[in-house]
Subunit: 76 residues, 2 copies
């Protein structure tokens, strides 16, 4: 059970964040999460929990399920 | 930020598990998670992390995103 889901999730968050024109700082403020935590998520270093997945989804104005929809382009 | 996502996720896991005809014990064995942890998830008491969401998805033979697709019937 590799940590690839952490990397793919992180890449997904980063691609949606950039799509929405948000900085890590801005996403952190909206989601009430620290910028360094956002940075760690995007680098695939954080085993994000449901409650924070929901915070990120709300902040990015997207359904939580969409955050776990990994396309080929999200694979790093 | 209520813990409703934990309850809705738990209800979703339970409904898919039952659909697949698995007991909590069987799901736990396949997912390599303790039965009592599965029980806690289904009661909305566990803030499940990405790696365990992936374990559950693999064990239930379903995409991780599907586990976060909450229909009305999943709301408790």
């Amino acid at each position: 059970m590799s940590n690839s889901i952490l990397k793919v999730f992180g890449a997904r968050i980063k691609s949606i964040r950039l799509e929405k024109g948000l900085s890590q700082e801005q996403l952190g403020l909206i989601a009430e999460l620290d910028r360094t935590y956002i940075s760690g998520i995007e680098r695939g270093l954080r085993n994000v929990s449901l409650i924070n997945i929901e915070r990120l989804a709300l902040a990015l104005n997207i359904e939580p399920a969409e955050l776990l929809k990994f396309s080929e382009s999200d694979h790093v």
